[in-house]
Amino acid sequence: MNLEELQQDFISAIFEKNNSTAAKHVTGDDRLTAEQRLGIYRGSVHGILTSSLGVTFPVTKSLVGEKFFDHMCDVFIDKYPPTSPFFVKYGGAFSEFLEQFEPAKSISYLSDVAALEWARHQVWHEVILESVDFSEMASLTEEEQATVWFELKQSLRLIESGYRIDLIWFAHQDGSEIKLEDVNIDEGVQLLIWKGTDGIKITQLDTNYQDYWDFLTAISEKNNITQLAGKFGEHLPSHLNRCIQEGWIKSFNRN
């Protein structure tokens, strides 16, 4: 017996529905054949992972119903089996998968809702870091300040959608006053998902924070102050101050 081959055969049985090879290693009896016994493991693994995806994507699940969600997960799990022992890292490809999953295409916003839920999941599990003391920037020379660039907090994500996925998400929360039938979901939205002191927040940038999407994107692309000034002109100081006050920017660096 070669343990490495046995484990490869087992992985195929669990994630490729190909249990004929693995069955050769297994004893069957009157109650259950070798294939059926392997099927218990396929069912158990898929059950564990489907349950985990249901916790990470509760609104996506609610939108399609449990039965269809389980079916989507079944296909997804075979196509994208986990590769990390860190459970919280599983599901990153779910939104992309749903975009291509033909049976789910009638719900055009489903993939974007899943992306929003994944962003919330990631932000929740991100490291909590204190911001640096930005007053230290005052000690830099003007020349040095010109090359400063900023880092966004890791516990922050930018999501853009052609649908009001924020309202779809809020409408599915307990006690929400938002009714899905009252919402025009066919409007584009730019969202910032971030971890505040009192939980995960979903902030719509394109209404209350005009051009902050472009600003935060420029920061995430490591634009320095000179480049930011070129793009945002007189708004740069106020944008920067607001981002620092909100805790969206973690630190500053120089090239």
Partner: protein, 289 residues
């Protein structure tokens, strides 16, 4: 400039004493435990869920540890895999251990990942001499890296391998003896496997190496007609309580823990199960003295 990240210092009892009947710490009970600080002697934490530094869960654990002794329990070691040990995982586990100071670290006598794919489930091994050699080598590597003995748990299984050369209990004895690790004896898993493979649960139980048993587990299973499934979603069943009673009679005062991982009820309900285990210990142990 740059990030601020400091070494964590927690006020804990450096070497926590684990005694009596504990329960598994679950997210669903976080708030209640934080507010009420119930009289529970110790908790087992699912260490895999706390390995990422700086997360909210990890911050909770630091505070939690100030009030309760803990043990670590994981599935991510994949001690029986033919893949190389995941050193990133081990490094994270060691860091968490150093910070939180659990009484011990346990994982399972099985494999959970292979060929780069992680099942997050407990897959059994063939019981052969070559597999013993493989497992013993890996347990030793882990123990050397962590700087302490680890505790290995017997798993439930739903199949047996044609190539197995010995009984599961002989396999466990050899692995624990040769690697000099401790044993987490899951009484429910013995019962589940005995029903799935039609062997005598008592024979398995009494063959366990008493001197290596650090902890016992109790949990509930689902009866699927053709087999029992170890789901940790139900109360402990009467046959498992009976087997546990025999275990207490035979092995004496060993810390025991109630696992409840899905369809999780109230904290009070889980504590009732722990109290039932405690009552059995209190009834049986004086008779063994």
């Amino acid at each position: 400039m740059g990030n601020q990240n400091s070494e964590k210092t927690i006020q804990t009892n450096a070497l926590p004493t684990i005694q009596g009947c504990g329960i598994g710490l679950r997210l669903e009970h976080f708030d209640e435990i934080k507010e009420q600080k119930p009289d529970i002697p110790w908790f087992e934490i699912l260490s895999d869920n706390y390995l990422i530094e700086g997360t909210s869960q990890r911050e909770y654990l630091y505070k939690f540890r100030e009030d309760y002794p803990v043990t670590f329990h994981g599935v991510g070691l994949s001690i029986g895999s033919t893949d190389p040990l995941n050193m990133d995982f081990l490094k994270s586990l060691k860091k968490l251990k150093d910070e939180v100071q659990p009484a011990w670290i346990s994982d399972h006598l099985c494999w959970t990942s292979a060929h780069g794919v992680v099942t997050h489930d407990l897959i059994p091994l063939p019981y052969t001499k070559s597999v013993i050699t493989h497992i013993v080598d890996r347990i030793k590597q882990v123990q050397d890296y962590l700087g302490e003995q680890i505790v290995i748990e017997n798993v439930s299984s739903y199949l047996q391998f044609k190539d197995s050369e010995m009984k599961e209990w002989d396999f466990i004895n050899e692995v624990t003896r040769k690697s000099d690790c401790k044993l987490l004896l899951d009484v429910n898993n013995i019962y589940v496997s005995s029903q799935n493979h039609l062997f005598d649960a008592d024979e398995y139980l009494y063959a366990m190496p008493q001197e290596r048993i650090a902890e016992m587990h109790l949990a509930g299973y689902e009866d699927h007609g053709t087999h029992l499934l170890d789901t940790h979603s139900r109360p402990v069943t009467d046959p498992v309580w009976d087997l546990f009673t025999k275990a207490v009679e035979h092995f004496g005062d060993v810390p025991v823990l109630i696992e409840w991982d899905s369809d999780i009820p109230s904290l009070q309900r889980v504590m009732e199960e722990a109290n039932k285990a405690k009552a059995i210990q209190q009834k049986v142990l004086p008779l063994c003295a």
